[in-house]
Structures are given as C-alpha cells and as structure tokens.
C-alpha cells in the first residue's frame, strides 16, 4: 500500500549529520523505579493545573494530582503509588532555570494502580466528545515537543486528513524511531482512535527515509490492519521536515495560512508518541505518566532509549545509562537544533523531554554569543529559512531594537528552527536575537496594557475624590444655611454666595488646567520611533478620556 505520490518541497532546509546510530542500536529499556518523583504542575502549553491532593496523602499510581480547570490546560498524575511529601517550588527543566510549583511523591514501591476501566475496542461506539474527555483527563499533550493539550486540537469540523508525524528530523533523537519499531500496532491503533474522533477520511503516516526499520515495522502494522485507511508516506531526510508547517506542505502541498491552524486546510497532525499515549489511555486506561526519552551524545557512557516515568530526575536517567563520560560538557533537553541547555541535572523529566543530549566539548559548535563577526549579508540564511523569512534583515532590525520593522519582516512567523544560525558564516546567534526581540515586544505589549489600566484607575479615582469633595461641600453649605436660618439671621448674603460660586468655578478651572497641562518632558532629540510612541500614547490617553466622558 506504499503509494508513491509526488511530494512537495518546502523552501530551504538543511542536510545534517544525524548521529542517530548512537542511541538506536538497542531496544527501549525500562527506567528503574526511584524513591522520589517531582511532578511539575505545568508541563504543557497553557495554564497550570489545580492541585487536588494534600501533603501527606497517599496516592495510587495513575491517580490525578492536579486537575485542569481552564480550557487550555492538562492534568498531571502520579507515576507511582506513594505519599505526597511536599507541594511547593522546585527546580524544573526550564531554559531560565526557574523554579515552579511541583508535587513531590515518595515511592512506596507497591506499584498499586488506581482502578482501571479501559474502553478498549468500544471506542468505536463512543462519541467524539466523550473520547476527547478521556484523552484530556489522561493528561495527554503533544509529545513531539510542543506539549499542546491534544484533546483541544481534535476538532471534528472539516478534517479530511490525519497526518501522523514520525519524522523525527532533529539529529540524535530516536525515541519515535524506536517506538515505531517496537510498538507499531499500538501506534496505529492510537491513530485509529484519533481518526475516529476527528472523523478523518484518511491517515497518512510519515517517516523520514533514514529510518528503514521503523518504516518496515509500520508498514507491517498497516498491512495487518488491512482497512486501507492508513497510508505510509516516506519523506526525504531534510531538516526541519518534522515541523508541522513543513510536514503539511510536503505531504499535501498546502500551506497553513498565516495566523491559521492546520484545521483551516482540513489537516490535523499528531506525533506518533501522542498516538501511542492515546492508545494507552483508551485500551489500558493509563494516563500519561511515562514517556520514551532518548539519552544520547558522546557525553554519555551507554546511549539508549529509556521509558521514563514523568518526574524521574534527569541525573537518575543518566546514571542508568552508565553515567557521564569524562568529557561531558553540555546538557541539552531536546535536539541540538531546537533544544535548550541546562546547567544542572537535578531536575525532573517532564512530558516535553524527548531527549537528554549530553555532548562532549568537541561535539557541538554553538554560535558565538560574546563576539561574532558582523553580518555580511551573504544571504545563506535566506536560502536556508524554511519559512522564507529574511533572517539577515530580521537580525539587522532586532539588533537595533526596531520593533516595528522587525515585526513587519514577520518576526512572529519564525519557527526558531535554527537553520539560519547553522549556516551563518559570521556565527551570529540569530535565533537568540529573535527570541529576545519577541520577548521584548511581548513585554512591551504587557507593560502598555498595564499602564493603560493604571491610568484608567487613576483617573477614575481622581474623579471619585472630586465628587466626594463636592458632596461634602454641598452638605456643609446646607448645614450652615440651616444653622443661620435657625438663629434667625438672614441667609448669608447673596453676594457671599456669588463669591463662593466664583471661587468654586475658579478652582475647577484651575484643576482642569492642571490636568491638561501635563507637558511632556525630554522631548528634544527624539527619534522617529519615540515620537511615534508618544503620539500613540497621546492617542490612547485621548480615547480613554473619551470613553470615560461617555
């Protein structure tokens, strides 16, 4: 059933050295149970879960620890049975090394499961909504690395094609390769469940041509299925063909519209690991409490794939792979193109960790952050960019902080694949510049929102105080009048009243002037961008005032 359809190409891309043979020689090994597991509440895109267990409580394996109340969120579950010893801040694998809320479980080595009620083959009779709920409650997120809660994107509206992503285009990583080799049937079953939910008409399983064993295993599973619903599509090895955007282009020839979703062109993509996790949830009622992790690189004694319970510390995983070799140098979560480095290994494996790459010093060549050569506009980055951006122009405007221009050159369409940086002869850490520019722009937008809100609050307060003051004065005046009438004296002469009215009017005018005459400071020597910002601020101020007045 291996049809040969003409494949489309995306722009650019790279041929890399893959080093997959380091870790794909042996089978997937099971990680030995550890005594402590650290489960971060937020391991996915979206809001963190709400803790539903207490310190000291005993939990069973597979029991939900935190529930997802928000739409874009995912629950987390206990990877083992044991006792909650702590709920609090703990170091997590995050590029910034920041601490986050975690639940810490002490393993009781009983391996006692919560009661399981697997749906198994009955899923065929269930509706999409109920199935999605099972997937959502199993804490399943995209295991290709994006960790977006899977159930949310499984829409039934107009989905024609389900693409199963077994591309694994990053060097070194082989967890999907091994998964497909060893558990092809389960992956296909998982895909069938997804297809049932989204009512897809076809399912294309995509694998790069550098994984012949996985291709053979998946083909065998497809042949066994014999419904003709699945089709294997072998894709030429080219980085980053595993990126959702690129993969859809290769397979369908269509592009996801800007700011759109794959669903807009009738396509849904899922990673093979996610399909496997969904199979586990439906057929065994097991939530996502473990994942396959490639532990590899020349800094590791015995590179291999491990099935690791979520929450196992990275140090323990590495110890099980024979520990660090003497020239271990850099610890990277994910692949060498898009991963991030950590400075220590005392953090847990989370749902997003597909690879622990420990490199020796002569294995990696990151761009030089301290002193790189200037950009000579050679355009190699333009040739390499799969999104067809102009990385050299983005760099030019990002490095001088011109946020408007950098957005005009489509900064936010950059997928941070690293192709531009890889080919740059000046060794400029381009992606780093883009990340910085993105976060600066996000920060500015957040600040602007905050200051707008503060201004509205301030002006409302001034208004309220003014009203209160007037009310008080009015009351006082009336009281005085009443007192005067009681004493039989004539009311304060009309002249006095007029004087008071005039004084009050003057005060009002003065106050108004004060508010209006907040003259801007430091307005000399402004550049165009600053002047624009001032104009924008004035505009906002005016519009807010208008709203208030209305």
């Amino acid at each position: 059933m291996m049809e040969s359809t003409t494949l489309k190409h995306f722009h650019g891309g790279l041929k890399l050295n893959y080093h997959k043979e380091l870790s794909n020689q042996g089978p997937i090994a099971k990680c030995k149970p550890q005594s402590r597991y650290v489960i971060p509440l937020q391991q996915h895109i979206g809001a963190a879960g709400e803790v539903i267990v207490k310190q000291g409580q005993r939990v069973l394996k597979g029991q939900m620890l935190a529930i997802s109340e928000k739409l874009v969120s995912a629950p987390v579950h206990a990877p083992v049975s044991g006792t909650i010893v702590e709920i609090g801040k703990h170091a997590t694998p995050h590029p910034s090394g920041m601490e986050a809320d975690c639940i810490i479980i002490e393993n009781d080595f009983q391996d006692e499961w919560v009661e399981k009620k697997p749906v198994a083959d009955d899923y065929n009779q269930m509706n999409s909504h109920d199935l999605r709920n099972i997937i959502r409650n199993a804490g399943i997120v995209g295991l290709g690395g994006a960790v977006f809660p899977s159930a949310i994107k499984q829409t039934e509206v107009n989905i024609n094609t389900l693409i199963l992503n077994g591309i694994e285009c990053e060097p070194y990583i082989t967890c999907d390769d091994l998964l497909m080799r060893e558990r092809a049937r389960e992956v296909i079953q998982g895909a069938d469940i997804i297809a049932h939910i989204i009512k897809a008409r076809e399912c294309i399983i995509t694998i790069e041509d550098n994984k012949p064993e996985a291709i053979a295993a998946m083909q065998a599973a497809i042949d066994e299925d014999s419904t003709g619903f699945f089709r294997l599509q072998i894709v030429p090895t080219l980085y980053p063909s595993g990126s959702e955007k690129m993969l859809i282009k290769i397979v369908t020839g269509k592009e996801i519209p800007m700011n759109g979703l794959p669903a807009d062109i009738g396509v849904l993509c899922h990673n093979v690991g996610t399909a496997y996790a969904i199979h586990k949830a439906i057929y065994e009622d097991e939530p996502l409490i473990s994942r396959i992790v490639t532990v590899t690189g020349n800094g590791i004694e015995q590179a291999q794939n491990l099935e690791v319970p979520i929450g196992t510390s990275i140090a323990d995983c590495i110890e099980q792979c024979g520990g660090y070799s003497s020239d271990a140098h850099c610890l990277i979560i994910g692949g060498p193109m898009m991963g991030y480095s950590l400075d220590n290994d005392a953090v847990p494996v989370i749902k997003a960790c597909n690879c622990l790459l420990v490199t020796s010093s002569d294995e990696i060549y990151p761009a030089n952050t301290e002193a790189h050569m200037p950009c000579i506009r050679c355009g190699r980055c333009v040739e390499a960019c799969p999104v067809q951006l102009l990385p050299q122009q983005l760099y030019w405007y990002a490095s001088c902080g011109n946020h408007e221009r950098v957005s005009e050159y489509h900064l936010f369409d950059c997928i941070e694949c690293g192709c531009c940086t890889y080919v740059c002869p000046s060794q400029i850490p381009l992606v780093q510049y883009y990340r910085n520019a993105k976060s600066e722009i996000w920060q500015q937008a957040a600040d602007r929102k905050k200051s707008d809100a503060a201004r509205v609050r301030h002006e409302a307060r001034e208004h309220r105080l003014e009203l209160q003051k007037r009310e008080r004065e009015e009351k006082l005046r009336k009281k005085r009048e009443m007192l005067n009438q009681k004493k039989g004296k004539p009311a304060t002469s009309e002249i006095d009243e007029k004087k008071a009215a005039i004084a009050e009017a003057l005060a009002r005018v003065k106050k108004k002037k004060e508010i209006q005459e907040i003259t801007p400071k430091n307005t000399d020597n402004l550049n165009a961008a600053q002047e624009r910002q001032i104009r924008e601020a004035d505009q906002r101020r005016k519009s807010i005032k208008k709203e208030n007045n209305e």
Partner: protein, 349 residues
C-alpha cells in the same frame, strides 16, 4: 554536576567569513596575473600600493575607533578591496592618486560607515570614482597591452612614471600610454568613424584582438571562469552575475542589431573593460548588494542598464563603477519592496 550553558542551535556548518573572503581572493588570482601579463609592472606596483595603504588605513581607523585591529585585518575583506582597486586603476597612474583612492575606499567608504558589514557602497568603487572625477586626465594612463607593445615597459621606466610622473629621458607620457578599446570606439565615433572603420584604424585597429580587445578578452575570460568556480563553491550568489550579464547581452545586442555601425556587439561588451570582474567580484559584494532573491535580479539588471548607458552615451570610459554605486543606493529600497512571500502567505497549487 554543572554544565556549560549555550543557546540553540548547538551545531553549525562552521562556515566563516574568513573562508568566504579568501576564496574570493584566490579566485581573483588568475585574472590578476593575466592583467599583469598584458599590462606590465604598473598593475603590480598599483597592487602593492593599494594593499599597503588599504591595510594601513584600516588599521589606523580601527585603532581610532577602539576596535580590535588584527581580527579585522585578517578577515580578507580589505585585501579584496585593494585588489579590485588595483585592477580598476590604469597601470601608470601616479602613486599619490592610487593612495588617495585607497584611503578613500577604506577610511571613508568602509570604516566611517561602520566597517565590515555596514558600508552602503562598494568601497573599491567609491575609491575609484573619487579619483576618476577628480583626476580624469591621469585616469587614462593605460599602457598598450602586450602584443601591440613589443614587451613590458621596463621596471625603471614604470617606476619613474608612477613616482616622478615622467620618463627618465624626458619623453612625454603620451608616448607610452594607449586608449582602451571602449575608449577608442567612443572617441572615434565622436569623430564620425564607425566601428568597422575603427577596427581597421592604423593605430587603434590592433587594440581589438579577436573579440573585444587584445588582453582584455583574456582577462575577462579568466574572471568569468573563476567566477563560475565561486558560484560552484556557493561563495557568491548566481543571480546577480546571471542577471547582470544577460541584461547587458540583451541591451547591447538590441542596439547592435538596430545599428551595428555605431553600437559594438554584445560580445564586445561582455568581454571588455571590467565586465566580468564586475559580474563576479564587484556587483556580488554581498554587503553593498541587495540581499533578497528578487532584489538581486533587479540589482544585476540595473547595473547592466546603467553600465551600458554610461559606456555608450556617457562621458566616462567605463561605466561600471558608477553603475554599481548608483545601484548600491537603491539597495535599502530594493530589499524592502522585494521581500519574498513567506510560508502561509501565498497560493500554492
């Protein structure tokens, strides 16, 4: 255990600016040797002056700007500027003129704009234009190529012309200089001698060689071949040379077909003067050229149109330097308006 931190990607192709620049320099060698072979000691002396002065100016300005000196000198970009300048200048120009061109190219056109990567204009062409406008007389001091002259002007004579503006035996400079083919055609046309006539001319006829000029055709051919090598090595982008050469071919052919008596053939234009040097070494300077794919097509074609216009109707012998610098001016605009359509922003079948 503690580890070194870095940002992704952690691997790279390990290309370097240094290797790009030195490949360009290697590619310049065959054509330069041919230029020396045909025009004698003067080219070599020019090369020595431009190299020394360019490197010195770069070092001094970098020192003044408090930037690392040795790294910049080693990147090879200054050597390329020096080499292009030496190839563009006539072989017998006085030494001070070569110096002025070199200083202007490096100090003003390159360093005052911010150094490597920041110059808007091609430094060598700016240096050339400055002396071309200021000293048009001296800029005609081309020698007759080997094959017309019996041999090279002696080293001693070349020296005294360049450094003392005169031959030792007090003979006039005109006795050793010779017009270039482009110049000869232009002057003769203004005297109402058509091209066929000029090619038969008793003095200038010998200049034209087999195609476009004795010596010039060989120099251009060698630059073409080494340029193709640069494209194969992916050191330069193919779009600018292709666009430039094809446009020049089309325009010159058009006029030659209309009136072959007053307009030289396309072949003459392609293999005369600095055409091939411009196509593969000057217009392709990535820093001052357009950087978008479509922009590069327009950039190359623009240089061709301007070169042809200046060569044919302008007052200067070869229009390449002006054409390149004029197109350099348009680059910011070209880059802005020729952005490629990005993923998701276009119709695909």
């Amino acid at each position: 255990m503690l580890f070194r931190k870095a940002s992704s990607p952690f691997i790279s192709a390990q290309a370097s600016v240094h290797s790009i620049m030195y490949q360009v320099l290697y590619a310049l060698i065959p054509g330069t040797l041919a230029a020396i072979y045909f025009f004698g000691w003067g080219i070599l002396i020019n090369l020595l002056i431009t190299t020394t002065v360019c490197l010195l100016s770069e070092a001094i300005i970098l020192k003044l700007r408090a930037r690392p000196v040795s790294a910049s000198l080693k990147d090879g970009s200054t050597l390329i500027t020096a080499c292009l300048l030496a190839l563009a200048l006539p072989p017998l120009v006085p030494w001070w003129l070569t110096m002025i061109a070199s200083i202007f190219a490096i100090a003003i056109a390159k360093q005052l704009y911010g150094g490597l990567g920041f110059n808007l204009f091609n430094p060598a062409m700016v240096g050339y234009i400055v002396v071309m406008i200021s000293f048009p007389g001296q800029m005609t001091f081309w020698t007759a190529p080997l094959g017309i002259s019996d041999g090279w002007l002696s080293l001693g004579d070349t020296f005294s012309i360049i450094f003392h503006s005169a031959l030792p035996d007090q003979s006039s400079i005109d006795s050793v200089t010779m017009a270039t083919p482009i110049d000869a055609i232009k002057t003769q046309l203004s005297l109402e001698h058509d091209i066929a006539n000029t090619r038969q001319h008793k003095v200038y006829g010998a200049l034209f060689g087999n195609i476009s000029g004795r010596g010039w055709e060989w120099i251009n051919l060698l630059f073409l071949l080494s340029g193709l090598w640069l494209i194969k090595q992916k050191v330069i982008d193919w779009r600018i040379p292709v666009s430039f050469l094809v446009s020049l071919l089309l325009i010159s052919n058009l006029f030659a077909v209309i009136d072959y008596a007053s307009y030289p053939s396309a072949l003459f234009h392609l293999f005369s003067g600095g055409t091939m040097l411009c196509a593969f070494f000057i217009a392709t300077d990535p820093i001052s050229a357009s950087t978008t794919p479509r922009g590069r097509w327009i950039f190359g074609a623009g240089i061709a149109v301007l070169t042809y216009t200046i060569r044919t109707w302008g007052g200067y012998p070869d229009g390449i330097a002006f054409a390149v610098v004029l197109m350099n001016m348009t680059v910011p605009l070209l880059d802005y308006y020729t952005q490629p359509k990005i993923y998701g922003n276009r119709k695909v079948d």
